[in-house]
Amino acid sequence: MTEQWWRRDASEISVLVKNKEVSPVEVVQSFLEHINEVESKVNAFTQVWSDYAIQQAKSLEKKIVKDNSSVGALVGVPVSIKEVICTQEGFTTCASKILAGYQSPYDATVVEKLRQADAIFIGKVNMDEFAMGSSTENSSIKLTRNPWNLKCVPGGSSGGSAASVSAEECVISLGSDTGGSIRQPASFCGCVGLKPTYGKVSRYGLVAFASSLDQIGPLSKNVMDSALTLSVIAGKDSRDTTSVDLPQVDYAEKIRKGKKPSPIRIGLPKEYFTEDLNKEVKEQVMTAIQTLEKQGAELVEVSLPHTEFAIATYYIICTAEASANLARFDGVRYGFRHPDSNNIIEMYKRTRSEGFGPEVQRRILLGTYVLSSGYYDAYYLKAQKVRKLITQDFENAFQKCDVIIGPTSPTPAFRFGEKTQNPLEMYLSDIYTISVNLAALPAISVPCGLSQNSLPVGLQFIGKHFDEEYLLSVAHLYEMNREQKLGSPPLK
């Protein structure tokens, strides 16, 4: 096979497959060969579904031969799915020992929607256990490496998603973002990562970490592919009452045909550009902003005064919700059960002490503590109040601007083990992404250059509630006019 279909993006592949210019089987085989070649270096996948992918491609081929007019928007596009999203195929382990070998009896709504859009599931990808972490080092399964530097982490928690897209082992990956888990790894691995507005995409079938913050979104090679995917997965789901009923929008079509967004008043939060910000990152971000200025954007300084409380607020709310969400993993009905216990309490204790990794245990304990009687008001209730203030900060800022821009992460990818000994330092790597989840806003990370060590830097665009259309169009405008092209990762 000569043609390297794995180099193509979703927009190209879907059109070529639909027009019968290439067989989906050929596309899938090309990807599987490439996975075979690079996966030993990257370790993005927890499961590669070679046979299942070929099988899907073959039945898709029959469908196309019969009638290619009714095929879906992602026809023939190989996608990978984060281990935290339920699929009937294979396992859904959340990269945790406690769910080792667990097979979901149902597909997540997003998986159903991708299938209806004729995408091809090629496998599942690594993550921090239960999506708790910023480096994918908390996986109980394996270490995933950053395709731009194999000594560096891919970010997290959707590290496998970002690495698989960056290494071109798939075209699109579905990740989940609770405090930056799509955007930060996308930024570390040099790909695009979109966190939609809370309520935009159904969470049914996403194993819950923090229910009021979790949101599924795509990681892709470019903004257009994220737009394409969002159109497929967005929408009200009767099984998720927190999902919102809004008119369907074909975002890719809007971007393709749409006019240049205008006006573009870019809000630069003064709290994001401080001494703590890595110089190289700052430089790349400022260059990107200039690029947008050349496209007619106007710069406005805005303030998000409660930014300094975001991490504390986040780690109270997310751990509180996690402590309840993860209570169901008790060894009674499914998953790991400790074999030696004499009574139910001992079974709970041993199962959970051995089944969960240290970071997950830390967060369960923290969450249990902040909800305890006597502490609830001081922690959880207060955090909810600060969350409102943070949301108001953004509302005030959006009075003056149309989109907020800043770095996705304060630093490029760091090395393995660099932050594992200090959880607080690890938490700080999510400082720019966390507020967005607290305020339920949509945001996208787009690569904006490389550091001197050839590590990607991500630029974060934050939009208004449910205005993904504008957000994507500005991100696309930047991407089209970006001066420094990243090229392919060296896989070294």
């Binding site: 999203i85 339920c86 859904t92 959340c94 769910l99 667990y102 979901s104 009896p105 149902y106 997540a108 969470r203 049914y204 079938g205 996403l206 194993v207 819950a208 923090a210 229910s211 009021s212 009767s238 099984r239 998720d240 009452t241 927190t242 509180a320 919700e321 402590s323 309840a324 209570a327 169901r328 993993f329 008790d330 009674v332 009905r333 499914y334 139910i344 709970y348 249990t368 909800l371 305890s372 009687s373 609830y376 959880y380």
Partner: protein, 476 residues
């Protein structure tokens, strides 16, 4: 020193929705274990709850019947504790913003009306059923009941005796049954009552330390448990001891309450708002829609029975003591029957047959039209009252209409004066010595003659006509 009990009740009622509180599984009671389950009620990873609208509708109806205000804004919360009967190890419930708040229910104790104030009624989900007698060292969990809708009704500590508690529970059960939102069957667990009991010196305004009595399987059990607990607490205080705040179980065999869990070892449920469900907004329109469809409640019906049918409070209370009996009564009255007669026949004659045959009015083969026919036949003097009771028993046995039975068995009352006169003359003729005694002043013998006449006519002779003619003939 005299003491008085202070009692508040917590009553759980299973609401009879078609599907469970947060998923589409059936709520049928007697299915095979774990056949009415899905990923949602089994708490599989990734699932989300969706609140059942029928549950909210029915809870609003109960709230209105309890004179509660229905919160325009309420929310669901998570109540966290580990136990295998909870698939998620938290129960979705309502904590600080319940759906129904601040109501009351009027009960009648010793002829006096008493208001029992309702603190709240909130939505929650039932737990699964654990079984420990499977053998092999295993326990089983049946999740069919897990996620079934429950309404928890909490009263203020307004009750002052076990008798008041009994009347309260009876009235509450009646109210819920009238609404048709629950079977309120304590044996099947569709109604569960817990009592918070304390005692204090009579006249004191302060509340004593309370204990909570759980796991009682019947109304009479609740009454006995409270009586025992009140005595126990008074004895503890009188002997200089202190009541410990704790949960106590009820042992029906030994007739005692026993300590289950002290306050110190009580759960910290770590309630917090359920992030998977949006807050519950109930508009005024929603509430008035439910209000409009509310059936007549027992109290209103009782009052109406007195006014419309001229019944006594006692009769009205008996007839409305179940919805089925009240409906039965009204159907009977509709068939142009004298209301007081109908009341007597249903609550005395029919009830005694039902009790004897150990069945309920819902399953009675004697239908309202049968009762109405019997009453009308007596009124029209076609049969005598005595025969009528016999006919009632025969309708019960055969299910045939009274008129058919009367015809088949020739039970029609004889009102033909000539025929009766013939029998009267015969009886007089046959008993000359009694006639002589009667004429010499033994007027009691009149009854003897009536008896003889009735014997000759198999009881079918119209007693009034018999009296008249007998008198006539004897006085000749």
């Amino acid at each position: 020193m005299e003491y008085e009990p202070v009692i508040g009740m917590e009553v759980h009622i299973e609401i009879n929705t078609h599907s469970k509180a947060f998923c589409t599984c059936s709520t049928n009671f007697n299915a095979q274990p774990n056949t009415q389950v899905c990923p949602v009620c089994l708490g599989m990873p990734g699932v989300l709850p969706v609140l059942n609208k029928e549950f909210v509708d029915k809870a609003i109806a109960v709230g209105l019947a309890l004179n509660c205000s229905i919160a325009e804004w309420s929310k669901m919360d998570r109540k966290n504790y580990f136990y295998p009967d909870l698939s998620k190890n938290y129960q979705i419930s309502q904590y600080d913003l319940p759906l129904c708040r601040e109501g009351y229910i009027d009960i009648e104790v010793n002829g006096k009306i008493k208001k029992v104030h309702i603190l709240r009624a909130h939505l929650e989900e039932d737990t699964a059923r654990n079984t420990h007698d499977l053998g092999g060292g295993y326990s089983g969990v049946d999740f069919n009941r897990g996620g079934v809708p429950l309404l928890e009704i909490v009263t203020y500590p307004d009750l002052r005796s076990s008798e008041e508690v009994f009347v309260f529970l009876t009235e509450l059960k009646l109210l819920i049954q009238y609404l048709g939102v629950s079977d309120c069957n304590m044996e099947e667990g569709s109604l569960r009552a817990e009592a918070n009991v304390s005692v204090r010196e009579k006249g004191s305004e302060q509340l004593g330390v309370k204990t909570e009595i759980k796991n009682v399987a019947s109304f009479s059990g609740v009454v006995k448990a409270i009586e025992y607990e009140v005595d126990r607490q008074i004895n503890v205080i009188k002997s200089g001891g202190k009541i410990i705040q704790e949960t106590r179980g009820w042992d029906p065999d030994r007739g005692i309450t026993f300590s289950q869990r002290s306050k110190e070892s009580a759960h910290d449920y770590r309630y917090f708002p359920e992030p998977d469900l949006v807050p519950l907004a109930v508009s005024k329109e929603w509430v008035s829609r439910i209000q409009k469809d509310m059936p007549e409640l027992p109290q209103m019906r009782r009052k109406r029975f007195q006014e419309e049918y001229g019944l006594s409070l006692y009769d009205a209370s008996v007839l409305t003591s179940t919805k089925a009996m009240a409906n039965y009564y009204e159907e009977t009255v509709k068939l142009v029957v004298e209301p007081k007669q109908a009341a007597n026949w249903i609550q005395v004659e029919l009830q005694s047959v039902l009790t004897y045959e150990n069945t309920t009015i819902e399953n009675s083969p004697v239908k309202p039209e049968h009762i109405a026919q019997i009453i009308n036949l007596v009124r029209d003097e076609v049969i005598s009252g005595k025969i009528a009771k016999e006919v009632l028993r025969k309708v019960f046995k055969t299910g045939k209409p009274p008129e058919t039975i009367i015809k088949e068995e020739g039970l029609i009352q004889i009102t033909d004066i000539d025929a009766i006169r013939k029998v009267v003359r015969e009886v007089i003729k046959k008993n000359p010595s009694q006639v002589e005694q009667y004429h010499s002043g033994k007027s009691k013998l009149f009854g003897f003659f009536v008896g003889q006449i009735m014997q000759h006519t198999q009881g079918k002779a119209n007693p009034k006509v018999v009296n008249d003619i007998l008198k006539e003939e004897l006085d000749k």
